[in-house]
């Protein structure tokens, strides 16, 4: 027999290292000879898409097509510290560093162009890799020509910037601190499940997610983080457990350490709420970790709704469910 249930969980996540730990990212932007713009960042793209975020932000500020932008990725001898791709921090930290660098570069473009055009900043504009006079749009110079002219003067048209917000070290006795984390992401998930009372297996049917992420730089990628995170949450709730007996792992393989397959996938419905954060790049907050946090408790609550049994330890395996169902039945008798 199958029993249906649904449960809700709401979570918060203070992102960045916070707690007064120095947390910053450095990025730089320069012009390459092949009419490309080079962004240097050590931010590790582990699949989440930070380098795409970097391209989008640089393109946005510099008003160029994203195809023009090329990235020099992580190399300790070619890029500066961007901090880790963890703590849900890269969109916020490296996003801001790149935004700051792009803005600094843009300022310099205006500065040098105003010399070229013998004009004032206010009379200039940029678009598609050109800087031009607003009143004479045909009177334009490309960024790369401008960079060449700057080079001829013995200077370099490039910019480096960082983002280094302050947080406070919490009081060791009380945890109190004025700003312990730079900002918080909030997520609510509702899980719908079906519990098979013959086998104790749980099928997650649907996951609804509403996430306050400030601003989605790339909505598709934000959804990807949420769906992937939720799937890991399903694993945590129902099947994943590294079994250690006297310090020895009994399931160090993918045969007995189970992660969800496509067959375990529920339907996903996701809604992004954009309550822009005053410090985030274009208002963005992070979503890397928060996507996974609410799922396991939402499922546990849904299982309670389905069979009236609450589980206090994860994962909630078929063994535990059948045992509890049997005890429930024995109690009623």
């Amino acid at each position: 027999m199958k029993r249906f249930g649904r449960g809700i969980a709401t979570i918060m996540f203070g992102f960045g290292y916070g707690e007064g730990f120095p947390d910053y990212s450095v990025a730089s932007i320069e012009f390459a000879e092949d009419n490309k713009i080079l962004v240097r960042t050590a931010a590790a793209d582990v699949g989440q898409g930070v380098l795409t975020v970097v391209v989008q932000i640089a393109a946005e500020v510099l008003k160029v097509s994203p195809e023009v932008i090329r990235i020099i990725p992580g190399d300790t001898h070619l890029t500066k510290n961007a901090g880790s791709s963890s703590a849900t921090r890269q969109t916020f930290f490296t996003g801001n560093a790149v935004k700051n660098a792009a803005q600094a570069l843009l300022s310099n473009i205006y500065h040098y162009a105003s010399i070229e055009f013998r004009s004032n900043y206010a009379e200039l504009s940029v678009k598609g890799g050109y800087v031009f006079r607003v009143d004479q749009p045909n009177n334009k110079i490309s960024f790369w020509e401008l960079a060449q002219k700057v080079k001829e003067k013995g200077e370099i048209l490039r910019a480096e910037a960082s983002f280094f917000p302050r947080t406070n070290k919490p009081n060791p006795e009380t945890g109190r601190g004025e700003k312990v984390y730079v900002a918080y992401t909030f997520v609510t998930q509702i899980a719908e499940v079906e519990v098979d009372t013959i086998t104790g297996n749980v099928q997650v049917l649907k996951i609804y997610t509403a996430a306050d992420i400030g601003k989605a730089i790339n909505p598709q990628n934000v959804e990807g983080q949420i769906e992937g995170g939720a799937m890991q949450g399903i694993g945590m709730a129902l099947m994943e457990e590294q079994v250690l007996k006297d310090g020895v792992t009994l399931n160090a393989n993918l045969t007995d350490y189970l992660i969800p397959t496509a067959m375990d996938m529920p339907q996903f419905e996701t809604c992004l709420i954009e309550k822009e954060d005053s410090d985030g790049p274009f208002g963005a907050k992070g979503i890397g970790e928060p996507g996974t946090i609410a799922t396991a408790p939402a499922i546990a609550n849904a299982i309670f709704d389905a069979i009236g049994i609450r589980f206090y330890d994860l994962p909630i395996t078929p063994d535990k469910i059948l045992k509890a169902l049997k005890e429930q039945k024995d109690k009623k008798l």
Binding site: I198, N251, T261, P318, D319
Partner: protein, 297 residues
């Protein structure tokens, strides 16, 4: 392809394969699909002295039907088993069991012969085969043995197969017209799952479809070998469905098994779930029987 050092044989004919076996016997490993063997020897293939690869033995890749039985070549893959119209028609739960093995990749390589010879307590095809009263053809260069499948298994990964013998065919007697079957595999995940427990049940009815004439219930992952609960026969044979007490039968199955705790499930779980899936299978078979008896107009 040439084999220079006697370490890799891929004969075209069965007699040639048997000859190699009688010569090298224990020293070489027989490889069919490889989906169990290469897992077992992961990161230490160098320990294997030589191979007998069955891939060119076309004789072993056939499913043949005659008036009384079906013969399945040992090199038939799980995918072929799943898709074969004959198997689907006569042995539906064997087809279903094959369809639920591992993944498309595993089903495309893994073979029925390999599944049997590997003799894993969790071997997916084993309980349906025993429930359908399969016989195994064991060939060596000097004799041919045909034995009931349930006699083949002696322990986890242990069988009566001798080093000079090759499993070539699996023979299944054609079931009578009124035959019903049910199969449940319980795993922790829907795909790529090794069974925590599985139960196959085949019930054969009299010509008038009223009296139970045969009943076989076989479970896997609950004992060192696949296990038939023979007591079920006594409780069912000669009776009509209305005379059979499902709850009692399910309890009987639970009582007759003594599984162990392992990473895939506890002893308690296996006993509890055995009872529940037994009832499920009985109900499924009963409802199929009823639908056939009383066609809805």
């Amino acid at each position: 392809m040439k084999n220079q050092e006697g370490q890799y044989f891929s004969p075209q004919q069965i007699p040639e394969a048997l000859e190699i076996l009688s010569k090298y016997g224990k020293e070489i490993k027989i490889i069919a699909g490889g989906s169990d063997l290469l897992v077992q020897y992961h990161d230490r293939l160098y320990e294997i002295a030589g191979w007998l690869d069955l891939k060119n033995l076309t004789e072993l890749k056939k499913i043949e039907l005659n008036s009384s039985e079906v013969s399945i070549g040992a090199m038939i893959t799980h995918s072929q088993l799943e898709k074969s119209p004959q198997i689907k028609n006569y042995f539906p739960i064997l087809s279903r069991a094959a369809a639920e093995i591992g993944s498309p990749q595993i089903r495309n390589r893994g073979t029925i012969g390999g599944n049997i010879v590997n003799a894993s307590p969790a071997g997916d095809l084993l309980s349906p085969l025993i429930a359908y009263e399969a016989k195994l053809v064991l060939l060596s260069s000097d004799e041919k043995n045909i034995i009931p499948a349930e006699q083949f298994f002696t322990g986890p990964k242990k069988t009566i197969l001798k080093p000079n013998q090759l499993l070539t065919q699996i023979i299944l007697p054609l079931p009578p017209q009124n035959c019903y079957s049910s199969w449940v595999k319980v795993g922790k995940r829907k795909a790529l799952a090794i069974s925590t427990i599985a139960l196959a049940m085949v019930v054969k009815m009299s010509e008038d479809n009223q009296i139970i004439q045969g009943a076989k219930v076989c479970l896997s992952s609950i004992a060192p070998t696949p296990l038939e609960i023979k007591e079920v026969r006594e409780e069912m044979i000669g009776k009509t469905f209305s005379q059979v007490n499902f709850t009692k039968l399910a309890q009987l199955v639970e009582d007759k098994i003594s599984p162990i705790d392992d990473i895939r499930g506890t002893k308690e779980y296996r006993k509890e779930v055995a009872r529940r899936i037994m009832i499920h299978c009985l109900e499924e078979i009963y409802s199929c029987w009823r639908d056939k008896c009383l066609p809805i107009n």
